[in-house]
C-alpha cells in the first residue's frame, strides 16, 4: 500500500509574522499512503506549516505541491481534494450533527446519502439529534473527523487530534485514524505526544523553533540515538502507567 510516490512536496517554506519567524526555510516530502507526523513542542511551527499546506495561510516564501497542485495557484482544487481537521475548529453550536453533516456536504458539494450511516462509522449515531455544543471532547473530535472525511479525500490533515482527550477517547481515536489509514489515505498529523507518534506514524519530522531538525522512521531515529551511546536514566518497564490505567478502567469510551 505504501508507495514511493511523493504526494506532498514542501520546498524552502518560510512564514514570517512581523518580526517572528514561525517557519524557517523547511523542506520535506510526504509519500502516498503513509502516516506522517510533525512533532515538536508548542510554538515550534507545526500548526503554521499545516495551515499553509491546507491553504488557510499564505507562505512568505517557498513552494508547496499537494497531489500535483500548487497551493498558491490551485488553492481551490487543493481545498476540494484534502480533508482538514483543525486544532480547535468549531461548528454552529445550535445545529444538530445531522444538520451539520448536510451543511458540510453542501459546502464540499458532494452527496452523502444517509447522514446516520456516517455517524455510525464514528459511533455517534445516538447523538444524531444532539447539538454540537452538547458533545464531549472525544465526541467532538470524532465528529470533526466525520466532516473531514465527508468528501472522501485521499489526503487528511489532523492537527493535534487527541490533545485534551482522556486515555479511553485517545485510544479510540487512534483506532479511527488507523481505519482511515487502512482505507488507503495519506495522513499528516501533528502531535506533541511521542507515544502517539510511535503508535501511528510511519515517518516523523521533528520541528523546533520553525526548523525541521530531524526526519525519519520512529525506529530509525531511536536506533540512531542509541548508537550514540544514549541510555535512559531508568530501565524501562514492559508496561507504562497508562497501560495500568487502561487495564483498570477499560478501553471502552466514556460518554460524559
Amino acid at each position: 500500500m505504501k508507495g514511493t510516490r511523493t504526494i506532498i512536496q514542501v520546498e524552502n517554506l518560510t512564514k514570517n509574522y512581523e518580526d517572528l519567524v514561525a517557519v524557517d526555510n523547511i523542506s520535506f516530502e510526504v509519500r502516498e499512503g503513509e502516516v506522517f507526523g510533525l512533532l515538536g513542542p508548542n510554538g515550534a511551527g507545526k500548526t503554521t506549516t499545516l495551515e499553509i499546506i491546507e491553504t488557510l495561510r499564505k507562505p512568505t516564501s517557498g513552494k508547496v505541491i499537494v497531489d500535483g497542485l500548487d497551493i498558491e495557484h490551485d488553492s481551490w482544487k487543493v481545498k476540494s481534494s484534502i480533508g482538514v481537521q483543525l486544532q480547535d475548529s468549531g461548528f454552529y453550536p445550535d445545529l444538530t450533527l445531522v444538520e451539520l453533516l448536510k451543511m458540510f456536504a453542501g459546502l464540499y458539494q458532494v452527496e452523502i446519502g444517509d447522514p446516520i450511516e456516517i455517524l455510525k462509522k464514528f459511533s455517534l449515531e445516538e447523538k444524531n439529534k444532539s447539538y454540537w455544543q452538547k458533545l464531549s471532547g472525544g465526541q467532538r473530535q470524532r465528529f470533526s473527523l466525520a466532516t473531514t472525511l465527508i468528501h472522501n479525500p485521499k489526503i487528511i490533515f489532523l492537527d493535534e487530534p487527541t490533545t485534551g482527550l482522556d486515555p479511553q477517547a485517545r485510544v479510540n481515536l487512534w483506532e479511527e485514524i488507523r481505519k482511515i489509514h487502512a482505507e488507503g489515505r495519506t495522513i499528516i498529523l501533528t502531535t506533541h505526544y511521542m507515544q502517539e507518534a510511535e503508535e501511528l506514524c510511519d515517518r516523523v519530522a521533528i520541528m523546533d523553533q520553525g526548523k525541521i531538525i530531524e526526519i525519519g522512521t520512529p525506529h530509525d531515529l531511536i536506533e540512531e540515538l542509541l548508537a550514540t551511546g544514549f541510555k535512559r536514566k531508568r530501565e524501562v518497564k514492559k508496561a507504562t502507567l497508562e497501560d495500568v490505567f487502561l487495564q483498570l478502567t477499560g478501553k471502552h469510551l466514556r460518554e460524559e
Binding site: 491546507e54 454552529y92 445545529l95
Partner: protein, 358 residues
C-alpha cells in the same frame, strides 16, 4: 484558467439555510426580533386606544333630556355616571373633563376645573355647541345666518397603533441587521466556525451573502408577523390591504440591505462579544429612542430635528409611514431611498476597511 473557484451556488444555499435554522434557535435573536416588538405593541396598543376622547360626568338619575341625548351621541364623548359629589371630586382631580348637571327645568349647568384646562376647553365648546343648536331649533330657526360647512378630507380612521407599529418594524429590522449580525459573525469568528468553513471550497463572499440571505428571510418573517398580529389583534390599518403589505415587505428588504453594512462594521471594529454589545448599542439605542419609533420626529426640539431626520432609521421610519399611513407606493419614496443608499455606501466602505476574517 488557473485557480478557478468552484461554483458557489450550493455552498451559498447551505450557509443561508443552516444559518437561518441556527438563528431561529438563538433565543436573543427571536426575542428582539419577534417578542420584544410584539410586547411593546401590546402595551402601547392598549394605552393608545382611547387617547382623544373626553369624559363628562353626569350625576345618577339625570341622564335624560335633549342635551344629554345630543352629547352622548358624539363619538369622542364618553359619559360617566355616579353621585354628584363623587363626580365633582374626580373633576377637581382632573380625571373628568366636566360635570353636566341638568335640573328639572331642563336647564343645564356645566362644571369645569382648571385641573385639566385643555379638556375643560374642549368640553365647554362641545356643550355650548349642542346648547346653541338646541336654541336655534327651539326658536324655529332653520336657516341660520352663518352656517359652518365642514368637509372631511381623510377618509380613513387612524389610531395610535397605526403610528406605533411601523416604528416597531423599524426597530426589529435594526436589531436583526446590526446586533444579531455583528454578534453572529463575531461568535462564528471566535469559535473558529468560520475557519473550518474556510478549509472547505467556500469563498468569504459566499459566507457573507449566505448570512445576509438568512437575515433577509428572518426580517421578512418579522415584518409579516408584526403586521399580521397588528391587523388581527390591534386593528392596524393596511390602507390598500395586500398591496400595502407587499410594499412594507419590499421596504424591509431595502432597509435590511442598508443596515447590514453597519452590522458588518460593528463586527469589524469589535474584537469579541463583550465589546460588540456596547458598540452595537451605540448604533441601535439612540436611533431607537429619537428616530421616530415612539413619537414623531416633529415632537423633538426644533434645533435637533435636522440632525435626527438624517439618521438611517429616520429614513426608514418616514418611508414605512408614508406607505402605511399615507398609502403611498414605494416609487414615491425616492428621497428616503437616497438617504438609505448614502448610509449603506458609508457603512459598506467602513465595513470593508475594518472587517477581518480572523
Amino acid at each position: 484558467m488557473k485557480n478557478k473557484s468552484p461554483n458557489q451556488i450550493r455552498p451559498f444555499f447551505s450557509i443561508a439555510l443552516y444559518s437561518l435554522i441556527a438563528l431561529f434557535r438563538n433565543r436573543a435573536t427571536v426575542f428582539f426580533g419577534f417578542a420584544f416588538p410584539l410586547i411593546f405593541i401590546s402595551v402601547f396598543g392598549l394605552l393608545g386606544s382611547n387617547g382623544t376622547s373626553i369624559t363628562i360626568g353626569v350625576p345618577d338619575g339625570r341622564g335624560s333630556g335633549p342635551i344629554y341625548q345630543a352629547l352622548s351621541r358624539i363619538e369622542a364623548v364618553s359619559i360617566k355616571k355616579g353621585s354628584e359629589k363623587d363626580l365633582k371630586e374626580q373633576l377637581s382631580q382632573g380625571r373628568l373633563a366636566g360635570v353636566l348637571v341638568i335640573d328639572k327645568n331642563n336647564s343645564p349647568s356645566l362644571f369645569i376645573s382648571q385641573a385639566n384646562p385643555q379638556q375643560a376647553a374642549a368640553v365647554i365648546s362641545m356643550t355650548s355647541g349642542v346648547v346653541d343648536k338646541l336654541n336655534l331649533k327651539l326658536a324655529n330657526v332653520t336657516n341660520p345666518v352663518i352656517k359652518l360647512d365642514i368637509e372631511e378630507v381623510s377618509g380613513r380612521k387612524f389610531s395610535f397603533i397605526d403610528f406605533f407599529l411601523p416604528g416597531m418594524i423599524g426597530f426589529a429590522l435594526l436589531t436583526t441587521s446590526i446586533t444579531s449580525t455583528s454578534f453572529g459573525l463575531i461568535f462564528l469568528k471566535k469559535t473558529l466556525v468560520l475557519k473550518r468553513i474556510f478549509a472547505t471550497p467556500t469563498k468569504g463572499l459566499t459566507i457573507l451573502l449566505g448570512q445576509g440571505a438568512s437575515r433577509m428571510v428572518m426580517v421578512l418573517l418579522q415584518t409579516l408577523v408584526i403586521v399580521l398580529v397588528g391587523v388581527f389583534v390591534f386593528k392596524f390599518t393596511l390602507v390598500h390591504g395586500l398591496f400595502t403589505l407587499t410594499q412594507v415587505l419590499i421596504l424591509s428588504v431595502i432597509g435590511l440591505l442598508s443596515f447590514l453594512g453597519f452590522g458588518l462594521f460593528v463586527a469589524g471594529i469589535a474584537n469579541d462579544e463583550n465589546t460588540a454589545a456596547p458598540v452595537a448599542n451605540l448604533f441601535v439605542l439612540p436611533q431607537f429612542l429619537v428616530a421616530g419609533t415612539f413619537f414623531p420626529i416633529d415632537a423633538l426640539p426644533s434645533w435637533i430635528q435636522p440632525v435626527v431626520s438624517l439618521l438611517p432609521l429616520s429614513f426608514f421610519n418616514t418611508a414605512i409611514r408614508k406607505i402605511t399611513v399615507e398609502g403611498l407606493s414605494i416609487d414615491h419614496l425616492v428621497p428616503q431611498f437616497i438617504g438609505l443608499a448614502v448610509w449603506a455606501v458609508i457603512a459598506y466602505i467602513l465595513a470593508s476597511r475594518t472587517f477581518r476574517w480572523e
